[in-house]
Amino acid sequence: MVEPKLPKFDTLSLHAGQQPDPVTGARAVPIYQSTSYVFPDTEFAASLFNLERAGHIYSRISNPTNSVLEERLAALEGGIGTVVTASGQAALHLGIATLMGAGGHIVSSASIYGGSHNIFTHTFPRFGIETSFVDPRDPDAFSAAIRPETRLIFGETLGNPGLEIMNLPVISKIAHEAGIPVMIDNTFATPYLFRPFEHGADIIMHSVTKFLGGHDIAIGGALIDSGGFDWEGSGKFTTLTEPYAGYHGLDFAEEFGPAAFIMRARAEGLRDFGACMSPANAFYLLQGVETLPVRMTRHMENTRKIVAFLDNHDDVGSVSYPELAGHPDHELAGEILPKGCGAVFSFEIHGGRDVGRGFIERLKLFSHLANVGDAKSLVIHPASTTHQQMEAAALTAAGIGEGLVRLSVGLEDSDDLVEDLDQALRSAVRAAKPRRAE
């Protein structure tokens, strides 16, 4: 019996997108710190600009180091192509600006990163794009919120910070029946734990800064196209199916077929908005992607130990982690996230905000900062930081209470992490108790 012999995930993490340098033989991906590329002749140059030939023109639009990262992320997610961007927020903006203009409407999960919530609530409306927020656990709510002008369903694989899990297969079906694509922010899960295209998503965005990079040294984003959405059949996406005057009447769906979306995102989005990734950052982020499978394995081992520890701790009120039986999405997590639910989770400490603050300040190994997905363990208080700009009602809808603490579990020895959490919990609770009269 014959079998396909294609490179597998761990191999792709190390090799996808790169051939050893043909001139120098360099094994590592070189940093092509160059803004521009010499054309062999004027005719070749004109052909490159007119998309008749393949190659690089100017690093705002494409760069050889960035291209390796782009191919690698597309390979790991099972997509057709990627555009890497200056940040995750740039990727989100690029995706939406490629799909719609003024008059467009988005149906989004209410449980998303605070920055994404901000751009939907406060910034896109200035450009005529409205968003309706719905409960990520309620597929009917997505269906009910779809309007004639809806152009996108958006959500996160693991909601932020409550780890609500969208029923992506069901919600994708609803979207596709309405002729609308689904974009998923897969930052928390990474393709190692979850591949959204296999569950019906059409577009993926990442903050590559987080687990994909894993080292806290470079900001970057990625927009990845499955190539599977039928833009022509939908009839709702004129940016992809009508002649584009900005490229001499180019019809992206006609000329590029499955690659229409990602080609437009680059040809228009990077050309005009210009939120490109620097090649040095692409190099740094590639170093992280190379070790993604081994790091994620360790992240999951440590997370499971810490979740179990906190879940049994007297000073902890509740732990929100889908692998725990009491989590509302426990069953769904077992079905679509069998390898794990990521290394970011939240818990409530008995005693509310003051004890929570005292706990964070007493931690020694966990770093108090606004990031997740680092090799080092991190902690933050979402209500006063990452989600600070959200109104009280939106905070409640997103399940963000005053005493909620969010951890991003790193790669340290899990015994050391547990010991740090334990001492900080006990000390913070003890400090908050009224002093007994001497």
Binding site: G17, E70, G81, L250, E254
Partner: protein, 262 residues
């Protein structure tokens, strides 16, 4: 653009410019399970360099209506009706894989009309592994994965695309996933039983490019060289390290080779 043949809509990409049949025209014919989009760069290049490009979707493929022709001969019949529907000033045909078999036979059948020919990824016989055929008949995903395994060189399976950010095997896979059930099997079966490539080659008199990949497992270059030997005015170009999907794996070299002959 769209036009009608046999009562069915035919879709053809014209490379981003309006089609003008009075200009020298190049007809581009895609391979099994593919569509016009595989010719994106050549179609666009020639349309902007004094030619008219007509990258057709065969019946039942891409945006064309009708039923996929069951044999290579039926595809050639259809292509001949396309040629007869237009008053081409001057005509060249380029085909890839199954499309190359069609282009070859069309040039043999219409020697007075076809001025030059481009044959990409072709051999005297395009045999298809029985397990691939069986998987395609079942509409089993295995068929797509086997084509990806054998269609792209080992290097291309790792990547390094000249088109920035596009994952080559991902693109190939998506193209095959788009076609209706049964069409891939139809095409592969048509290739598998077709035996006439050598006799067609002996009838071709126009200048002909035979473009081969040294790592092509679908149409190994040995069969391509044998076919080229039967063509009176053939120019053979071998892309070292390239697999069967030269339009994706080596787009610029493929365009250069086409440009030199068409």
């Amino acid at each position: 653009m769209e036009f009608e043949i046999d009562g069915h809509i035919v879709f053809a990409n014209t490379g981003g410019r309006d089609f003008d049949p009075s200009l020298p025209t190049i007809l581009f014919v895609h391979g099994a399970g593919n569509d016009h989009s595989v010719w994106q760069m050549p179609a666009r290049y020639f349309a902007y360099h004094g030619r008219s490009s007509l990258a057709v979707d065969l019946p039942g493929h891409g945006r064309s209506g009708g039923k996929a022709p069951a044999t290579v001969e039926a595809m050639v019949d259809w292509l001949q009706r396309v040629v007869e529907a237009f008053s081409f000033g001057e005509l060249s045909i380029a085909g890839h894989s199954m499309g190359a078999l069609v282009a070859l036979a069309a040039a043999a059948r219409m020697p007075d009309k076809v001025k030059s020919l481009g044959l990409l990824g072709i051999a005297t016989k395009i045999g298809v592994h029985p397990e691939l055929l069986a998987a395609a008949r079942r509409n089993d995903r295995l068929a797509i994965d086997l084509i990806t395994t054998w269609g792209f060189s080992p290097e291309s399976q790792v990547g390094g695309n000249l088109v920035p950010g596009v994952w080559m095997t991902g693109g190939g896979t998506q193209l095959l996933e788009r076609i209706p059930d049964g069409v891939l099997w139809n095409d592969l079966a048509a290739c598998d039983v077709y035996e006439d490539a050598p006799s067609m080659a002996r009838q071709v008199t126009c200048p002909t490019l035979v473009l081969l990949g040294s790592r092509d497992l679908m149409t190994p270059q040995k069969g391509g060289h044998a076919l080229a030997a039967d063509i009176a005015d053939a120019r053979t170009v071998v892309l070292e390290g390239c697999g069967h999907m030269m339009l994706v794996e080596r787009p610029n070299e493929t365009l250069d080779a086409l440009r030199d002959v068409l």
